[in-house]
Symmetry: C2
Subunit: 693 residues, 2 copies
């Protein structure tokens, strides 16, 4: 097959994704938004979300300009790089920002339309919610592959040395990663400040209803779902997707040497990840056709068919793609012989590891397995034992995923070297388009339920949206498994790429400087989490104070006759999120630069430390948070221990609510940010590698 | 100076320590135990403590015999080792067990005598409590140095090859470490099961008083202080002490080569740590003379004078010892030139790092600084924000200690290579004798207060014991800093020693097998903590059920007219602790063996992972626990926020109690066990190194 032609087909898949996203977005917009009351509420949410994103992006523009200038300046006059890397960086940042913006914009339209569709039935509601999610998913992969492949084609025609091309492309990943970190942290702080603040206001001031439309923080809470769970997650997956493609490209340059005589393009190993990703986009669109549910049926089946179907097709197609692009077998510089079949096996290992980690995640977090029931049981003796049980469950849940991950690392490396590790990660992420659609569908349904509640719609509407919200769980757990697994593998691939680019022979961990780097690296995720959690705590307090003020000062609010000043609460969350995201975000970019210029060996240790401790803390925090959340839900649907039934309103439930609140910043702010942090630090290292060589 | 003569003087210091401990123990025993009621209560506590230790040791005997047989068998017919290593292992285990037993035995006498002395005045009470602690401290260092030096002298005369001698000696460290892990975990589970169970019983069953002599779990709680905080900590510090000496000895064999021509003993680098430790014992005894307080004065001054005085004298003396034993300068095999002065600087760096980490620990945990006040403030909005704030504080508190530690690693290595890192750890631990006395004085005073309460003594007695209990905090924080810092440095030294003994050229962290080992290693402390916390949770529940049963079935217990069945509660804690310590303890020994036989490279990665993640989780857990504890105490002594005063009985206090309860297993079970775990795994690796070479 002509690889050159294949390369030009890659951006086309991005265009197709964006066009289809546009079409779906138009369809969503055309749906009926329901009653005037519903439209007003949805309008508040949409306005708040856009206002936040605008203010966030204003700050990020300054950051992007500063970093771009520094990047351009530092790479001037170098033969192994070029100031053009600043352009890649800016394009990466813009694509990431746009993907988040598009996705969120449609999500804030889809929410109320899902509510309205749920008035008619489940099937239509699923369709609207999933379509909203799909726009997000396709925007992310479309912009990712389009930006990346166009830059690559331009650079590849402009510069003769593939190493230099790869180096320039890595700027795109840096742009995506740094925006992702800010978006994830900022969005995470926003959503949890509003959520925790709204929940706790009722505890502090007597007579203020929690989870009630009269609570002035509810709009902010719903805005948070959009800026955190939709836009934040979009930026997150954008960077995972881009990072795994670029990591594979960097390693691919050295992995598959020149084979002109065999009719194989010299850069076959570099092009392969782009082609796989492009194919994944088309497969995701095809998979989305399978997502439908009959009235009265289980929406879970639809989502599963779509996602697993897409993964299966992708696995089969990747066999043909890999054997077509790569030679049947070749001998690497190291003297090891590789075959294209082995590379295919590495992809399958990645997919299998992702599914396994997802299933383990589901075991530890789902309402009907032992761990969550155990936490519910420990809630009977109060909040303290609930917390101890949740922390213990989260820590225990790191065991199996790490064993799976370690096995995947060794096995994929056995099959195809470091390239194998990178492409295993890519295997997990190739159908990101549909995975992200399922992920984003969750907060849209959640929002739809909130709107139903606030507009006083009949309870069956809320029941339907709850049903939609609940069924995404298994699929979302699998998605989480893929996110964590791919983050670790991508970080390793980037780590190997850094070593290669920085000319570090070996990173001997028994060297004291490297050991010091390892300890410093392992410490970063702890401090980073502390900053994120502290920010949530402070912002939640401000929110609680504001809610109290409104209940005291606005007469009629308590009785439901006067409206709350939602905008003030939105403003508090917005300001806090912007203010508090700056320190952790900047830390992630600055630390590797500073350490790298002190000693590139220490930077190697730092990367290893950040990756190992980051993966563990991420699994611990998101699983503990998920388990606490579901332990509360489990009690809410009544559970019996030793002959006594515990349900909503019991002391056990109150204890479980404490756990749920503690778990909020764990699973939605600090936990997911760590996935980005470890990749961002690796990408920064990769980008500065030529400078510290 | 004749090094040979010095070597024979080393065991003498151990004998002096033990004789002085015997003398002090006799003095404590001769003190009056007070009223009959006091003696009865103290008798229950002492009986419970001894009964637990006996049952624990019965299990450990089986473990020790099994491991000894395996060790002997595995090392048969080898020239680089010998089955005699099994003897070292047994002697190490016995010395560790004896140190814990002696110390606890005297502590359970000192507690009631401290109470009685407190009836007269503060000065006498301090004297009794500190003397009790001193017996513990001197038993530990005395048995440690005696066992180690006698074995070394025998082996050194028996075997010609110093490498073989060192290898045999490492069995002693293995014995100490494995007993320490079981003792720390078992004791930690015991004490927190009783503590948490007693506290929460009141929450679950109405009308049961918490912290009240009628609560049947109070005796078990007091027994727990002795088996966990005294015997467990004794075994812990025994292994730290021994581990740091042996780590330095192993590296010393290669560090200072043969210098017969310069009149320096060939094994100068091996003997130095023994001589430094021996000197530290005498200095500790001298330092103990400074610990006294005038009536009405502050006991803190006495403790500080004793501990800091001892450290200062030790620092000065070590200069003379090092310059006397080592040549003024020499060139190592690597071509680097070292001087004895540089080795002295490494010791000073160790001491300085220990003090710094201690001060940072104090900042994060003491009642009058920002972090604890912040947690108290977040308690106002309930348990959830209290927990979030505590977790955040614990995570944040890892930052500065890790920076200090990293700097110490690099600096001490700069001065004196890997030997410098090992001897920096030794510098921190050289005055363990008096440090441990101060540490053990804490639970003795705590127990004394409990006995005062239960025997219904006048409140001024309780006030005096509380004063004693409170003042040990700064000194204890410094001790904690030394424990964490030395554990990390010792683990690194053992790690380097393993690499040397296993003949591993380089542990390149970018190799996938080693990266997998790193991830697996980093995961172990999480799973280990989860097991320990789960055990506390389960045992606490059993305790709660038993307390409820007694209050329901024993008529008159609620009114205080009938006695509770204390023995049942003691039995529950004992059984649970023994049962639950086996899995985590065995895991610590087995995992490195299994991984080592799979791949020695992977074992290298595992060690790096365990060390980095272990240090971080240990700091996180113990500081979070300490901060929660003091946030509760801070509220109990009334604190004002925004014009409102919060004190005992307020909602803020209830929230702070939740944090304190969560912190209990953190700071007293899982946290401190991790220090041992990381050294145990390193020692196991060191011992099996010749077998997997």
């Amino acid at each position: 097959m002509d690889n050159q032609l294949l390369l030009y087909a890659v951006p086309l898949s991005g265009v197709i994704a964006l066009l289809y996203a546009l079409f779906k977005a138009g369809w969503v917009s055309k749906q009926d938004a329901g009653t005037e009351n519903m439209a007003t509420i949805a309008g508040h949410i949409a306005d708040g979300a856009v206002a936040f994103l605008k203010r966030e992006y204003k700050v990020l523009v300054i950051f992007v300009i500063c970093v771009a200038i520094l990047l351009g300046f530092a790479n001037t006059g170098r033969t192994d790089s070029s100031p053009i890397i600043a352009v890649s960086f800016i394009v990466g940042a813009i694509c990431s920002g746009l993907a988040g913006y598009f996705g969120m914009k449609v999500a804030t339209k889809a929410n109320v339309r899902t509510t309205n569709a749920a008035r008619e039935g489940l099937s239509r509601a699923l369709n609207v919610a999933f379509s909203g999610g799909l726009v997000m998913g396709l925007s992310v992969v479309g912009l990712g592959i389009l930006g990346l492949s166009v830059l690559f084609i331009i650079y590849n025609n402009q510069f003769s040395e593939i190493g230099q091309v790869i180096n320039l492309i890595s700027g795109f990943s840096l742009g995506a990663s740094s925006i992702a970190l800010f978006a994830r942290v900022g969005g995470g702080i926003y959503t949890k400040a509003a959520d925790v603040g709204a929940d706790l206001a009722g505890k502090v001031y007597e007579g203020i209803p929690e989870d009630d439309p009269r609570n002035p923080a509810t709009i902010a809470d719903n805005v948070g779902d959009n800026v955190g769970d939709v836009a934040g997650m979009g930026a997150d997956l954008f960077e995972s997707y881009v990072g795994s493609i670029i990591g594979t490209m960097v390693l691919g340059a050295a992995f598959v040497p020149v084979f002109d005589s065999m009719g194989v393009l010299p850069i076959a190993g570099v092009i392969l990840p782009l082609v796989l990703a492009a194919t994944g986009i088309i497969v995701s669109i095809v998979g989305s056709f399978f997502v439908r549910v009959k009235e009265g049926g289980n929406p879970q089946t639809g989502l599963n068919t779509g996602e697993f179907g897409a993964s299966f097709i992708m696995a089969a197609l990747s066999y043909f793609i890999i054997t077509a692009i790569l030679p049947a077998s070749w001998t690497a510089e190291s003297g090891v012989t590789y075959t294209s079949l082995n590379v295919f096996f590495a992809v399958i290992i990645g997919l299998a590891a992702g599914v396994l980690i997802g299933l383990i995640t589901e075991y530890y977090c789902s309402t009907h397995h032992k761990p969550v029931v155990g936490i519910a049981y420990q809630s009977v003796t109060g909040a303290a034992t609930n917390i101890i049980a949740g922390l213990g469950t989260g820590m225990m849940s790191t065991g199996l995923p790490i064993i799976v991950l370690s096995a995947a690392i060794i096995a994929s490396h056995q099959f195809a070297g470091l390239y194998g590790i990178a492409i295993a990660a890519l295997g997990m992420l190739s159908v990101t388009g549909i995975q992200l659609a399922v992920d984003a569908y969750g907060p849209i349904s959640d929002n739809a339920g909130g709107i139903a509640e606030m507009s006083g719609l009949p309870s069956e509407v809320r029941e339907r949206t709850d049903k939609l919200d609940a069924v995404g769980n298994t699929t979302a757990a699998i998605g989480k498994g893929f996110a964590i697994g791919s983050a670790a593998l991508t970080a390793l691939a980037l780590f190997a790429a850094f070593r290669q680019q920085a000319g570090v022979e070996s990173i001997d961990i028994s060297e004291p400087v490297i050991m010091a780097g390892l300890l410093l690296g392992a410490m970063l995720p702890f401090v980073f989490s502390a900053l994120a959690m502290g920010a949530v705590g402070r912002a939640a307090r401000d929110m609680i104070t504001e809610v109290g003020r409104q209940f005291n000062e606005i007469s009629g609010l308590r009785e439901g006759t006067a409206p709350a000043e939602f905008a003030h609460c939105v403003d508090i969350s917005t300001k806090a999120a912007i203010r508090e995201m700056i320190l952790p975000g900047t830390l992630g970019v600055l630390v590797p630069v500073v350490v790298g210029f002190v000693s590139k060996d220490m930077l190697g240790g730092l990367l290893a430390g950040v990756t190992s401790s980051g993966v563990l803390l991420a699994i611990f925090q998101s699983n503990a948070g998920g388990a606490w959340d579901n332990a509360k839900k489990r009690i809410e649907s009544n559970i019996e221990f030793d002959g006594v039934t515990y349900g909503k309103g019991t002391e056990a439930h109150k204890a479980a609510v404490v756990g749920d609140t503690v778990g909020d910043p764990f699973k939605d702010t600090s936990g997911p940010s760590l996935n980005i942090l470890m990749k961002l630090i690796a990408v920064v290292a990769l980008v500065i590698a030529p400078l510290i060589q």
